[in-house]
Amino acid sequence: MKLEEIKVCILRIEGTNCEQEAYDAFKALGADPEKVHLKQLIGRSPGELRRELDEYQVLMLPGGFSAGDYVRAGAIFAARMKSHLAADLENFIASGRPVLGICNGFQILVELGVLPSFDEIMSEAPQAALYTNVSGRFECRPSYLKHENHGKCVFTSLLPRGEIVAIPVAHAEGNLRFPSESEEEFLMRLEENDQVVFRYVDPNGDYAGYPWCPNGAIGNIAGICNPEGNVLGMMPHPERAMFRYQHPDWTRSGGKPDAPGDGHVIFRSVLDHVSKRF
Protein backbone atom coordinates (compact mmCIF):
# COMPACT_ATOMS: atom_id res chain seq x y z
CA MET A 1 0.00 0.00 0.00
CA LYS A 2 1.00 3.61 -0.43
CA LEU A 3 2.82 5.38 2.37
CA GLU A 4 0.18 8.07 2.75
CA GLU A 5 -2.50 5.40 3.19
CA ILE A 6 -0.82 3.79 6.16
CA LYS A 7 -2.97 4.66 9.14
CA VAL A 8 -1.16 4.77 12.45
CA CYS A 9 -3.15 4.64 15.67
CA ILE A 10 -1.33 6.58 18.37
CA LEU A 11 -3.15 5.39 21.43
CA ARG A 12 -3.40 7.46 24.57
CA ILE A 13 -5.15 7.93 27.88
CA GLU A 14 -4.68 10.58 30.54
CA GLY A 15 -0.99 10.96 31.30
CA THR A 16 0.25 9.70 27.95
CA ASN A 17 2.41 12.60 26.96
CA CYS A 18 4.68 11.75 24.05
CA GLU A 19 1.90 11.42 21.52
CA GLN A 20 2.62 14.68 19.70
CA GLU A 21 6.22 13.81 18.83
CA ALA A 22 5.17 10.26 17.94
CA TYR A 23 2.56 11.76 15.64
CA ASP A 24 5.16 14.14 14.18
CA ALA A 25 7.58 11.28 13.51
CA PHE A 26 5.08 9.30 11.43
CA LYS A 27 3.82 12.48 9.79
CA ALA A 28 7.35 13.55 8.82
CA LEU A 29 7.69 10.30 6.88
CA GLY A 30 4.43 10.76 5.03
CA ALA A 31 2.16 8.28 6.84
CA ASP A 32 -1.30 9.08 8.20
CA PRO A 33 -1.12 9.07 12.01
CA GLU A 34 -4.05 9.80 14.32
CA LYS A 35 -4.07 10.40 18.06
CA VAL A 36 -6.78 8.16 19.47
CA HIS A 37 -8.03 7.97 23.05
CA LEU A 38 -8.56 4.45 24.36
CA LYS A 39 -12.21 5.33 24.98
CA GLN A 40 -12.65 5.85 21.25
CA LEU A 41 -11.67 2.23 20.60
CA ILE A 42 -13.88 0.68 23.24
CA GLY A 43 -17.15 2.42 22.51
CA ARG A 44 -16.99 4.95 25.30
CA SER A 45 -17.02 8.08 23.19
CA PRO A 46 -19.59 10.04 21.17
CA GLY A 47 -20.49 8.46 17.84
CA GLU A 48 -18.41 10.57 15.47
CA LEU A 49 -15.29 9.83 17.54
CA ARG A 50 -15.73 6.04 17.53
CA ARG A 51 -12.83 4.12 16.01
CA GLU A 52 -12.00 0.45 15.46
CA LEU A 53 -8.48 -0.85 15.97
CA ASP A 54 -8.92 -2.81 12.76
CA GLU A 55 -8.98 0.44 10.73
CA TYR A 56 -5.25 0.94 11.35
CA GLN A 57 -2.11 -0.68 9.98
CA VAL A 58 0.20 0.34 12.83
CA LEU A 59 -0.49 0.66 16.54
CA MET A 60 1.78 2.86 18.56
CA LEU A 61 1.83 3.23 22.34
CA PRO A 62 3.75 6.41 23.10
CA GLY A 63 5.68 7.40 26.20
CA GLY A 64 4.42 9.27 29.21
CA PHE A 65 2.94 8.47 32.58
CA SER A 66 -0.35 6.87 31.66
CA ALA A 67 -2.73 7.13 34.61
CA GLY A 68 0.17 8.65 36.52
CA ASP A 69 2.08 5.36 36.47
CA TYR A 70 0.29 4.71 39.72
CA VAL A 71 0.34 1.07 40.92
CA ARG A 72 3.22 0.35 38.47
CA ALA A 73 4.34 2.03 35.30
CA GLY A 74 1.93 1.09 32.52
CA ALA A 75 -0.13 -1.28 34.67
CA ILE A 76 -3.37 0.70 34.64
CA PHE A 77 -3.33 1.38 30.89
CA ALA A 78 -2.58 -2.32 30.33
CA ALA A 79 -5.42 -3.42 32.60
CA ARG A 80 -7.83 -1.14 30.81
CA MET A 81 -6.74 -2.47 27.44
CA LYS A 82 -6.87 -6.04 28.59
CA SER A 83 -10.41 -5.77 29.87
CA HIS A 84 -11.87 -4.14 26.74
CA LEU A 85 -9.53 -4.55 23.84
CA ALA A 86 -7.80 -7.89 24.35
CA ALA A 87 -9.41 -9.72 21.44
CA ASP A 88 -8.98 -6.81 19.00
CA LEU A 89 -5.37 -6.47 19.99
CA GLU A 90 -4.66 -10.18 19.62
CA ASN A 91 -6.22 -10.16 16.16
CA PHE A 92 -4.21 -7.08 15.24
CA ILE A 93 -0.95 -8.71 16.28
CA ALA A 94 -1.86 -12.08 14.74
CA SER A 95 -2.48 -10.39 11.40
CA GLY A 96 1.17 -9.33 11.39
CA ARG A 97 0.48 -5.64 11.79
CA PRO A 98 3.19 -3.80 13.73
CA VAL A 99 2.82 -2.58 17.30
CA LEU A 100 5.38 -0.19 18.75
CA GLY A 101 5.69 0.67 22.42
CA ILE A 102 8.17 3.33 23.43
CA CYS A 103 9.08 3.93 27.07
CA ASN A 104 5.73 3.88 28.86
CA GLY A 105 4.46 2.06 25.78
CA PHE A 106 7.05 -0.70 26.37
CA GLN A 107 5.98 -0.88 30.01
CA ILE A 108 2.37 -1.26 28.89
CA LEU A 109 3.24 -4.03 26.40
CA VAL A 110 5.07 -5.93 29.14
CA GLU A 111 2.25 -5.48 31.62
CA LEU A 112 -0.19 -6.62 28.93
CA GLY A 113 1.83 -9.78 28.39
CA VAL A 114 2.38 -9.17 24.66
CA LEU A 115 6.11 -8.94 25.29
CA PRO A 116 8.14 -11.09 25.48
CA SER A 117 5.21 -13.30 24.35
CA PHE A 118 7.11 -16.60 24.36
CA ASP A 119 4.19 -18.99 24.06
CA GLU A 120 1.13 -17.03 23.11
CA ILE A 121 0.30 -13.63 21.69
CA MET A 122 -0.78 -12.31 25.06
CA SER A 123 0.11 -14.12 28.25
CA GLU A 124 -2.33 -14.26 31.13
CA ALA A 125 0.12 -12.63 33.54
CA PRO A 126 3.18 -10.51 32.76
CA GLN A 127 6.29 -12.57 32.02
CA ALA A 128 8.67 -9.71 32.58
CA ALA A 129 8.82 -6.46 34.47
CA LEU A 130 10.23 -3.03 33.78
CA TYR A 131 11.32 -2.31 37.25
CA THR A 132 12.73 0.75 39.02
CA ASN A 133 16.10 1.90 37.66
CA VAL A 134 19.04 0.70 39.71
CA SER A 135 19.87 4.33 40.48
CA GLY A 136 16.39 4.73 41.93
CA ARG A 137 16.12 7.93 39.89
CA PHE A 138 14.40 9.27 36.83
CA GLU A 139 17.15 9.30 34.20
CA CYS A 140 16.94 11.73 31.29
CA ARG A 141 20.21 11.26 29.40
CA PRO A 142 21.76 10.32 26.07
CA SER A 143 22.20 6.62 25.45
CA TYR A 144 23.83 4.49 22.78
CA LEU A 145 22.17 1.34 21.47
CA LYS A 146 23.67 -1.50 19.54
CA HIS A 147 21.36 -3.12 17.03
CA GLU A 148 21.40 -6.86 17.76
CA ASN A 149 18.53 -8.23 15.75
CA HIS A 150 19.23 -10.72 12.99
CA GLY A 151 16.43 -9.51 10.79
CA LYS A 152 13.20 -10.58 12.38
CA CYS A 153 12.15 -7.23 13.80
CA VAL A 154 10.15 -5.18 11.29
CA PHE A 155 11.14 -1.95 13.03
CA THR A 156 14.86 -2.30 12.33
CA SER A 157 14.87 -3.95 8.92
CA LEU A 158 16.75 -1.01 7.40
CA LEU A 159 19.31 -0.83 10.20
CA PRO A 160 22.37 -3.07 9.73
CA ARG A 161 23.03 -5.46 12.59
CA GLY A 162 25.82 -4.25 14.85
CA GLU A 163 25.20 -0.59 14.07
CA ILE A 164 25.29 1.83 17.03
CA VAL A 165 22.59 4.47 17.29
CA ALA A 166 22.33 7.37 19.73
CA ILE A 167 18.81 7.59 21.13
CA PRO A 168 17.98 9.29 24.44
CA VAL A 169 16.24 7.76 27.45
CA ALA A 170 13.93 9.41 29.97
CA HIS A 171 12.42 7.07 32.50
CA ALA A 172 12.46 5.90 36.11
CA GLU A 173 11.40 2.31 35.45
CA GLY A 174 13.29 0.70 32.60
CA ASN A 175 15.10 -2.11 34.34
CA LEU A 176 14.03 -5.21 32.38
CA ARG A 177 13.64 -8.18 34.74
CA PHE A 178 12.55 -11.77 34.38
CA PRO A 179 11.44 -14.08 37.20
CA SER A 180 14.70 -14.92 38.92
CA GLU A 181 14.08 -18.67 38.64
CA SER A 182 13.71 -18.44 34.84
CA GLU A 183 16.19 -15.65 34.10
CA GLU A 184 18.69 -17.84 32.24
CA GLU A 185 16.02 -19.69 30.33
CA PHE A 186 14.21 -16.52 29.26
CA LEU A 187 17.42 -14.87 28.11
CA MET A 188 18.21 -17.94 26.07
CA ARG A 189 14.77 -18.02 24.52
CA LEU A 190 15.06 -14.34 23.60
CA GLU A 191 18.32 -15.09 21.82
CA GLU A 192 17.01 -18.22 20.15
CA ASN A 193 13.90 -16.46 18.92
CA ASP A 194 15.88 -13.43 17.71
CA GLN A 195 13.89 -11.22 20.04
CA VAL A 196 16.68 -8.98 21.31
CA VAL A 197 16.63 -5.78 19.29
CA PHE A 198 18.74 -3.23 21.16
CA ARG A 199 21.32 -3.38 23.92
CA TYR A 200 22.80 -0.39 25.75
CA VAL A 201 26.47 0.25 25.00
CA ASP A 202 29.00 2.99 25.77
CA PRO A 203 30.20 5.48 23.13
CA ASN A 204 32.80 2.93 21.97
CA GLY A 205 30.14 0.32 21.34
CA ASP A 206 31.04 -1.87 24.32
CA TYR A 207 28.49 -3.23 26.75
CA ALA A 208 28.83 -1.08 29.84
CA GLY A 209 27.19 -0.53 33.19
CA TYR A 210 25.63 2.61 34.62
CA PRO A 211 25.28 5.27 33.33
CA TRP A 212 25.52 3.89 29.80
CA CYS A 213 23.02 1.26 30.79
CA PRO A 214 20.78 3.79 32.54
CA ASN A 215 18.57 1.34 34.39
CA GLY A 216 20.43 -1.90 35.11
CA ALA A 217 18.36 -3.97 32.66
CA ILE A 218 19.27 -7.63 32.43
CA GLY A 219 21.77 -8.26 29.66
CA ASN A 220 21.85 -4.48 28.97
CA ILE A 221 18.63 -4.98 27.02
CA ALA A 222 16.98 -1.76 25.80
CA GLY A 223 14.40 -3.21 23.44
CA ILE A 224 12.84 -6.55 22.56
CA CYS A 225 10.37 -7.78 20.00
CA ASN A 226 7.94 -10.70 20.00
CA PRO A 227 8.99 -13.96 18.31
CA GLU A 228 7.23 -12.89 15.09
CA GLY A 229 9.08 -9.55 15.05
CA ASN A 230 6.02 -7.33 14.63
CA VAL A 231 5.76 -6.07 18.22
CA LEU A 232 8.64 -3.94 19.48
CA GLY A 233 9.04 -2.42 22.91
CA MET A 234 11.95 -0.18 23.77
CA MET A 235 12.76 2.23 26.58
CA PRO A 236 14.74 4.86 24.56
CA HIS A 237 12.86 7.46 22.55
CA PRO A 238 13.57 7.26 18.79
CA GLU A 239 10.89 9.91 18.15
CA ARG A 240 13.19 12.35 19.95
CA ALA A 241 16.01 11.66 17.51
CA MET A 242 14.31 12.10 14.14
CA PHE A 243 16.78 14.78 13.04
CA ARG A 244 20.42 15.50 13.84
CA TYR A 245 19.47 18.75 15.53
CA GLN A 246 17.70 16.75 18.22
CA HIS A 247 20.90 14.94 19.16
CA PRO A 248 22.72 16.29 22.21
CA ASP A 249 26.03 16.81 20.41
CA TRP A 250 24.91 17.91 16.96
CA THR A 251 26.82 21.19 17.19
CA ARG A 252 30.07 19.16 17.43
CA SER A 253 29.47 16.25 15.13
CA GLY A 254 29.39 18.14 11.81
CA GLY A 255 27.09 17.19 8.98
CA LYS A 256 23.80 18.81 8.14
CA PRO A 257 21.77 19.58 11.28
CA ASP A 258 18.50 18.76 9.49
CA ALA A 259 19.66 15.39 8.17
CA PRO A 260 17.85 12.34 9.60
CA GLY A 261 18.72 11.50 13.17
CA ASP A 262 19.39 8.06 14.59
CA GLY A 263 15.76 7.34 15.50
CA HIS A 264 14.53 7.95 11.96
CA VAL A 265 15.36 4.43 10.78
CA ILE A 266 12.86 2.80 13.14
CA PHE A 267 9.92 4.67 11.70
CA ARG A 268 11.26 4.31 8.17
CA SER A 269 11.71 0.56 8.59
CA VAL A 270 8.22 -0.11 9.84
CA LEU A 271 6.56 2.02 7.19
CA ASP A 272 8.68 0.34 4.54
CA HIS A 273 7.59 -3.04 5.87
CA VAL A 274 3.89 -2.14 5.92
CA SER A 275 3.92 -0.62 2.46
CA LYS A 276 5.49 -3.78 1.06
CA ARG A 277 3.50 -6.34 3.00
CA PHE A 278 -0.01 -4.85 2.94
Binding site: I76, A129, R137
Partner: protein
Protein backbone atom coordinates in the same frame (compact mmCIF):
# COMPACT_ATOMS: atom_id res chain seq x y z
CA UNK B 1 -18.71 -4.12 54.39
CA UNK B 2 -15.27 -5.65 54.55
CA UNK B 3 -12.01 -3.77 54.81
CA UNK B 4 -9.19 -5.45 53.01
CA UNK B 5 -5.53 -4.67 53.12
CA UNK B 6 -3.43 -5.80 50.20
CA UNK B 7 0.27 -5.61 50.85
CA UNK B 8 2.57 -5.67 47.83
CA UNK B 9 6.15 -6.55 48.62
CA UNK B 10 9.21 -7.06 46.49
CA UNK B 11 10.13 -10.67 46.00
CA UNK B 12 13.09 -11.90 47.92
CA UNK B 13 16.22 -11.10 45.97
CA UNK B 14 14.78 -8.19 43.97
CA UNK B 15 16.84 -5.05 44.65
CA UNK B 16 15.01 -2.13 46.22
CA UNK B 17 16.47 1.12 44.82
CA UNK B 18 13.76 3.24 46.40
CA UNK B 19 14.51 1.77 49.80
CA UNK B 20 18.25 2.12 49.34
CA UNK B 21 17.98 5.69 48.15
CA UNK B 22 15.66 6.58 50.98
CA UNK B 23 18.18 5.15 53.39
CA UNK B 24 20.92 7.22 51.80
CA UNK B 25 18.80 10.38 51.96
CA UNK B 26 17.99 9.79 55.62
CA UNK B 27 21.66 9.33 56.36
CA UNK B 28 22.48 12.55 54.53
CA UNK B 29 19.96 14.23 56.80
CA UNK B 30 22.00 13.04 59.76
CA UNK B 31 20.05 9.96 60.93
CA UNK B 32 22.29 7.20 62.19
CA UNK B 33 21.88 3.50 62.83
CA UNK B 34 19.59 2.70 59.90
CA UNK B 35 20.26 -0.91 59.06
CA UNK B 36 17.91 -1.18 56.09
CA UNK B 37 14.92 0.49 54.48
CA UNK B 38 12.39 -1.54 52.55
CA UNK B 39 9.55 -0.14 50.47
CA UNK B 40 6.19 -1.83 50.73
CA UNK B 41 3.00 -0.77 49.02
CA UNK B 42 -0.30 -1.17 50.79
CA UNK B 43 -3.72 -0.79 49.25
CA UNK B 44 -6.51 -0.50 51.74
CA UNK B 45 -10.01 -0.91 50.39
CA UNK B 46 -13.53 -0.95 51.69
CA UNK B 47 -15.55 -3.57 49.83
CA UNK B 48 -19.27 -4.07 49.62
CA UNK B 49 -19.03 -7.79 49.00
CA UNK B 50 -19.65 -10.76 51.29
CA UNK B 51 -16.71 -11.49 53.56
CA UNK B 52 -16.61 -15.05 52.27
CA UNK B 53 -15.76 -13.86 48.76
CA UNK B 54 -13.54 -10.93 49.65
CA UNK B 55 -10.29 -12.84 49.92
CA UNK B 56 -10.55 -14.43 46.51
CA UNK B 57 -11.64 -11.17 44.89
CA UNK B 58 -8.64 -9.37 46.38
CA UNK B 59 -6.34 -12.10 45.17
CA UNK B 60 -7.73 -11.70 41.68
CA UNK B 61 -7.26 -7.93 41.89
CA UNK B 62 -3.67 -8.51 42.87
CA UNK B 63 -3.06 -10.87 40.00
CA UNK B 64 -4.80 -8.66 37.43
CA UNK B 65 -3.36 -5.30 38.41
CA UNK B 66 -1.83 -4.68 41.78
CA UNK B 67 1.18 -7.01 41.63
CA UNK B 68 3.51 -8.07 38.86
CA UNK B 69 4.46 -11.65 39.72
CA UNK B 70 7.87 -11.23 38.15
CA UNK B 71 9.04 -8.94 40.93
CA UNK B 72 6.31 -8.74 43.53
CA UNK B 73 4.37 -10.86 45.99
CA UNK B 74 1.05 -9.94 47.55
CA UNK B 75 -0.64 -10.69 50.81
CA UNK B 76 -4.32 -10.12 51.48
CA UNK B 77 -5.56 -9.42 54.95
CA UNK B 78 -9.22 -8.90 55.80
CA UNK B 79 -10.10 -6.75 58.76
Amino acid sequence: MVTAEIRIELKHGVADPEGENTKKALELLGFKGIRSVKTVKVFEMDLDIPASEAASVCEEMSRKLLANPVIQTFRVQLK
